[in-house]
Amino acid sequence: MLREFTCIICPNGCEIQAQLENGVLTSMTGHTCPKGEAYVRQELTDPRRNIATSVRVQGGELPLASVRLTNPIPKDRIFDAMAEIRGISLKAPVEAGTVVIAQILGYESDVIVTKSVALRG
């Protein structure tokens, strides 16, 4: 069976064709770097994605601080992760890089702040 993938690792977006026999990968064409090959192997067994969203900030010059995951998590857990992140509220000042949830849903992935928010002046 032939399966086609669009690699999402970098903006090149390589179109990768993977040949499978009884669910086992036998050959791959179209990737231009080792990350593409790793991406397809991951997609076949356990597709993972990163997400970006925001958390509320009390008393800040902005109402929100943006956050992201430090590592991708299984695709089918994204909405569970969103629900957990939605419960977070921080107090200003907030520094970019701060971990707001360590090991979300038990995965090797932390939720970190990506934008510093100063106190409301």
């Binding site: 669009t6 690699c7 999402i8 690792i9 970098c10 903006p11 977006g13 179109e15 231009t32 994605r49 990163n50 997400i51 970006a52 969203t53 925001s54 509320r56 902005l62 109402p63 929100l64 943006s66 956050v67 992201r68 695709k75 994204i78 909405f79 969103m82 970019a96 990506t114 934008k115 510093s116």
Partner: protein, 411 residues
């Protein structure tokens, strides 16, 4: 009047990168003027990741990418002024701005234009119908959600397959809205393939090519849109109309360089890019006025914006220290497959970075630069898409004459 070596108009990714690079080159008498309260430009609302892979070899969110430059600006103590809107730039490089302290004026030796771009709106498309609330551009929805903590939509239709539209399709879905579909009038997507995959396919959002919105319904708030298929000349096909009930229509139908100030300064624009005509120094038709980033031509990746602004700064640093920049008499012509090039003029005496976009999708092709019919540079492409900017270096020692250059794509 206060004098500055360089005034940088706009503190987004291009302006920040130019400032830091000028400082590295020893030009310290700089001032960045930014109309918003914070530096960083549009990156502040681009909270998704994937920025910085080329420039920093790591995937960052927009705010983190901007912070790398903002921290550098602060560390180098490069002067900047926020809440300051430039109102006019004269050909003599007098810059007039409205600031918290009132009207301010500076006499600059060089002006760097880094104002970015704006979104095409409903008006530009001329979609017939009512004028209800609920019709937004993708960047406006992005600002509502990511900066102001406002959720502007429940049932969504998106027109245009630009990258920001697809990224907002995902963002809205994560926040509980229902995105019914993305419609694209062209037969090919205008955004990057990876965004179709990770923003639409991942969430089961269909993308319909050769479709457009032909009616907008609703009194105070949008209640629905009519969508029609279009023919090869992009004309709606009668009988193909379909109704979609929705409260929000999001437009992601292209970006236009923001050049009102440039036009007033006497800068000549290129009708294809709608940005300035520049030479290999990124100097416009007005001596001492330079341009880079999305104000010059709309980029696909911010990394390329930063790197372009850094090359600009290298030239501007020479200019303000009194060096003569090489004349650029050689034009760059294009065939029908090439949308535009940056720069449009070169000296023929120095290596330069050629940036271009193709007009249609082509597979297994070569982008070729010729002089007197002779090949002087080329780049092989497995797939060339209008969505992607193509860049490569043209080496001066390969040039064969002082004739114009011709860029073509051959399959």
């Amino acid at each position: 009047m206060e004098k500055r070596d360089v005034i940088i108009v706009g503190g987004g990714p291009a302006g920040l990168a130019a400032a830091v690079q000028l400082h590295k080159k020893g030009v310290a008498n700089i001032l960045i003027l930014e109309r918003e309260h914070h530096l960083g430009g549009i990156l502040r609302q681009c909270i998704h990741d994937g920025f910085g892979l080329s420039r920093f070899q790591t995937a960052l969110s927009g705010p983190e990418y901007a912070a790398r430059f903002i921290e550098e600006v602060k560390r180098c103590e490069i002067p900047y002024q926020t809440d300051t809107t430039v109102l006019e730039i004269s050909p003599e490089k007098v810059v007039t701005a409205a600031s918290r302290e009132g009207l301010v004026q500076y006499q600059a030796k060089a002006v760097i234009l880094t104002m970015g771009c704006r979104e095409r709106t409903r008006g530009a498309l001329g979609i017939p119908g009512e004028r209800p609330a609920g019709v937004f551009t993708a960047g406006v929805v992005q600002a509502y959600m990511n900066l102001y903590n406002r959720m502007p939509a429940k049932e969504v239709v998106i027109l245009g397959s630009g990258d920001i539209g697809m990224i907002m399709a995902r963002r809205l879905t994560l926040e509980g809205a229902h995105v019914q579909a993305v419609f694209e009038v062209q037969p090919i997507p205008s955004g990057l393939p990876r965004n179709i995959e990770q923003c639409l396919n991942d969430y089961g959002i269909p993308l319909y090519l050769s479709h457009t919105v032909t009616q907008i319904h609703g009194d105070s708030r949008l209640t629905g849109v009519t969508v029609s298929q279009v023919d090869e000349k992009l004309r709606p096909i009668p009988g193909t109309e379909k109704e979609y009930a929705c409260d929000t229509l999001i437009l992601s139908v292209g970006l236009i360089p923001e050049n009102e100030l440039s036009i007033d300064a006497g800068v000549q624009l290129d009708g294809r890019t709608r940005g300035a005509l520049v030479d290999e120094h990124y100097q416009t038709s007005v001596e001492g006025i330079f341009a880079a980033g999305n104000v010059l031509h709309v980029h696909d990746l911010v990394d390329f914006v930063s790197m372009e602004a850094e090359r600009l700064a290298d030239a501007a640093a020479l200019y303000v220290t009194g060096e003569t920049l090489a004349d650029c008499p050689l034009g760059i012509r294009t065939d029908e497959n090439v949308g535009h090039t940056i720069p449009q003029r070169v000296s023929g005496k120095a290596d330069f970075q050629l940036s271009l976009r193709v007009r249609r999708m082509m597979k297994d092709c070569r982008v070729v630069v010729r002089q007197n019919g002779q090949e002087v540079a080329a780049k092989r492409m497995k797939k060339a898409l209008p969505a992607e900017m193509i860049q490569f270096v043209v080496r001066a020692d390969k040039l064969v004459s002082q004739e114009n250059l011709e860029v073509s794509v051959e399959c």
